[in-house]
């Protein structure tokens, strides 16, 4: 039988290489469903690559798609670092978007230098409160935050529909359930003319760097890591564990909320109930591919966004269902999970023996 034992020291090279390798394996595994769908496999991969790197427009579309994923990926990474299981980023994203629309469609107006920080702050607070709830239920009542944050996604989505048919509805929207447009001064500026890429991308990169610095170099970051590694030991060492959970929840929810602001104020301009095709859930994959490292989140977001944008254009060219993208992304999560095992453990064949101590 096979004996499993932890490695004495983990190789840094291996832990960086495994996500890359996992992503490649997932891409290769996609050949199976492609073959199943009867698609020309080589041509399909070619279309995917062309869909991302074929033109400046395609490439900026990929960066645009990566923007919300960086935020939701950071939201998951920071929470998971503290072993706070925030699976509610999808809902928090919509809370952020609703807050941005609430303050950004005429309630206030001013120069962009005031309006843009205002909508971002509003979205961050709304998203943060969205995760503070489950975290409080965890620390006060011991209710599992996995289930509460997950179920909140459904509640918030229904609440969103209620708002879009009620208080947030655009009276000029011809009856469609959509919000009024965000005022011009609160719109995140475009980065390149005639491309949809917007300042949210720069904000996302900056946020990732800040998150990295906080996690790696500050006392607060140390507390987060200590709580995640061993909550009981952290408590023994005098760290206020519950307080750390609440702070992490606020930060994680705020990041997911900003993802919503960035989409609504940077890309769409108004809010509909289909703003996010599951960016909150995909953020979990991004965070895992990144090994929960904030800088890794940037790379992982670019990969996942490439899969989505590439698969979209492949789907249009070849006619394969665009669910292939979700398939590749979910397979890369399972691959990186399995890969992490081989980075941490040695496998040793010890022959047929039932009496291993």
């Amino acid at each position: 039988m096979i004996q499993i034992s932890p490695k004495e020291k983990q190789s840094g090279w291996l832990s960086a290489g495994i996500p890359v390798f996992s992503a490649l394996v997932a891409l290769l595994l996609a050949a199976i469903p492609l073959a199943f769908a009867g698609a020309p496999i080589i041509a399909a991969y070619g279309e995917m690559i062309k869909g991302v790197f074929g033109s400046l427009f395609n490439f900026t579309e990929m960066l645009t798609r990566a923007t919300p994923l960086i935020f939701t990926g950071l939201a998951a990474a920071i929470a998971f670092r503290a072993k706070l299981w925030n699976i509610g980023a999808e809902g928090q994203l919509y809370l952020g978007a609703m807050a941005a629309v609430w303050v950004g469609t005429g309630m206030f107006d001013g120069p962009p230098i005031l309006m843009i920080p205002l909508v971002i702050t509003a979205g961050a607070i709304a998203g943060g409160l969205g995760m503070l709830g489950p975290a409080l239920l965890k620390t006060r009542f011991g209710a599992d935050e996995v289930v509460t944050s997950l179920l909140l996604n459904f509640i918030i989505l229904i609440f969103l529909q209620m708002m879009l048919e009620g208080p947030l509805k655009d009276p000029m929207g011809l009856g469609w359930p959509q919000s009024e447009p965000i005022v011009d001064n609160a719109i995140l500026p475009q980065l390149i003319t005639r491309m949809r890429l917007h300042a949210g991308f720069i904000l996302a990169l900056g946020t990732a760097v800040v998150a990295y610095v906080i996690l790696a170099m500050t006392v607060w970051g140390y507390k987060i890591r200590a709580v995640g590694e061993n909550a009981a030991a952290a408590k023994h060492a005098g760290i206020a564990v519950n307080k750390t959970y609440l702070a992490v929840a606020m930060a994680s929810g705020a990041l997911a909320g900003i993802a919503g602001v960035s989409e609504v104020a940077g890309l769409k301009g108004y809010l509909t109930a289909d703003l996010s095709p599951g960016f909150g859930y995909t953020g979990i994959v991004v965070a895992m591919l990144a090994g929960l490292s904030p800088l890794g989140v940037i790379a992982a977001s670019l990969f996942v966004a490439s899969v989505f944008v590439g698969a979209d254009s492949m789907s249009r060219a070849i006619g394969v269902s665009s669910f292939i993208a979700d398939l590749i992304v979910s397979m890369s999560l399972l691959c990186v999970l399995l890969g992490g095992f081989f980075a941490r453990f040695n496998l040793r064949w010890v022959g047929k023996s039932e009496d291993v101590p």
Binding site: F36, G142, F154, I155, I158, S321, F323, F341
Partner: protein, 314 residues
């Protein structure tokens, strides 16, 4: 107020409660089996989708309704095996593996459906399970419509409650499964295989979850829609905590949930003019969270839940 009373007196309300509870009964039993052996299976939501799609697809391709049930259960078992390999053999994070299985199951089922049926505007339908028509019993007043005009799948779910209860409480296997979720070292010391017990529980539990999904496409409706599972799997994860991992309480929890859901639909039609309908739609999810808060402090989690076990390593 009279209207409110009338709801509780009508047989259609109680029949609907049991019907709504049916997929949850399958799901809670499945989650219970996995968790009792020490493995959280967050793949449940995806396994529901897989069961809904494969069961429906098998019937649509001519396998017959019971053939569809078998196909759904087998597909669920395969995804359970996958979750088991990752979490039991390799000891990986049960949270992340489960979410991965959910994402993978959902996308695989959606991809397969879209690939088999590329361009259909309205989803093709099958002939689903019909309400049973049992002579005499189905014609009884009140009891007849509530109990004896349900589909065979509802009866299957109720029978499975008894089976799972019997296995867990009355057999050596049940004792071993519960022990492996509480103290795997002790089970190993007795010469039983921790790995096999956990694997068996997760595979069987996942097959049950898939039946919950199959009920949706083969009994409640007659077609497969994207997003039709809509959080039912997650609700089961909340219900199993509410049920303290007891099969009988799992049935009670699912029935209570079915009652509240049937009630909200009826209140919605009566009070829809005054209160936005969405408030009622939120109710099931809010109720699940409230149930979780009520029981959370005294919940008696299987002590080895979430803890991987490796042979020869303490």
């Amino acid at each position: 107020m009279m209207d409110f009373l009338n709801i509780f007196l009508s047989d259609s309300f109680w029949a609907a409660s049991l019907r709504i509870a049916t997929p949850l009964i399958f799901g809670v039993l499945g989650a219970l089996l996995c968790e009792r052996s020490g493995v959280l299976n967050l793949g449940i939501e995806g396994i529901f989708v897989v069961g809904a799609m494969t069961g429906w697809m098998a019937v649509w391709m001519g396998a017959g309704l019971w053939g569809g049930i078998i196909v759904a259960a087998l597909s669920g078992a395969i995804f359970g095996l996958f979750h088991g390999i990752l979490t039991i053999i390799f000891g990986l994070s049960q949270h992340v593996s489960g979410l991965g299985i959910t994402l993978f199951g959902t996308s695989a089922a959606s991809f397969a459906y879209r690939t088999a049926l590329p361009k259909v505007s309205s989803p093709p339908r099958i002939e689903p399970f019909r309400a049973l028509d049992i002579p005499v019993l189905s014609d009884l007043p009140f009891i007849g419509p509530v109990l004896f005009q349900q589909t065979a799948m509802t009866w299957l779910a109720l029978c499975l409650v008894v089976v799972v209860w019997w296995v867990m409480e009355k057999t050596a296997l049940g004792v071993a499964i519960k022990a492996v979720g509480d103290n795997p070292d002790a089970v190993n010391a007795q010469g039983l295989s921790v790995i096999k017990l956990r694997m068996g529980s997760v595979v069987a539990g996942s097959a049950l979850m898939a039946l919950g999904g199959a009920f949706l496409t083969m009994s409640a409706f007659d077609a497969f829609f994207f997003g039709m599972v809509n959080g039912r799997g997650w609700i089961c994860i909340a219900l199993v905590i509410f049920a303290s991992w007891q099969p009988s309480k799992a049935l009670l929890g699912a029935l209570l949930f079915g009652m509240f859901d049937a009630l909200q639909v009826r209140l919605q039609t009566q009070a829809g003019a005054i209160i936005p309908g969405q408030i009622f739609l939120m109710a099931p999810y809010v109720l699940s969270i409230i149930a979780l808060i009520i029981v959370a402090r005294k919940a008696d989690y299987p002590r080895a839940l979430l803890t991987p076990w490796f042979k020869g390593q303490r």
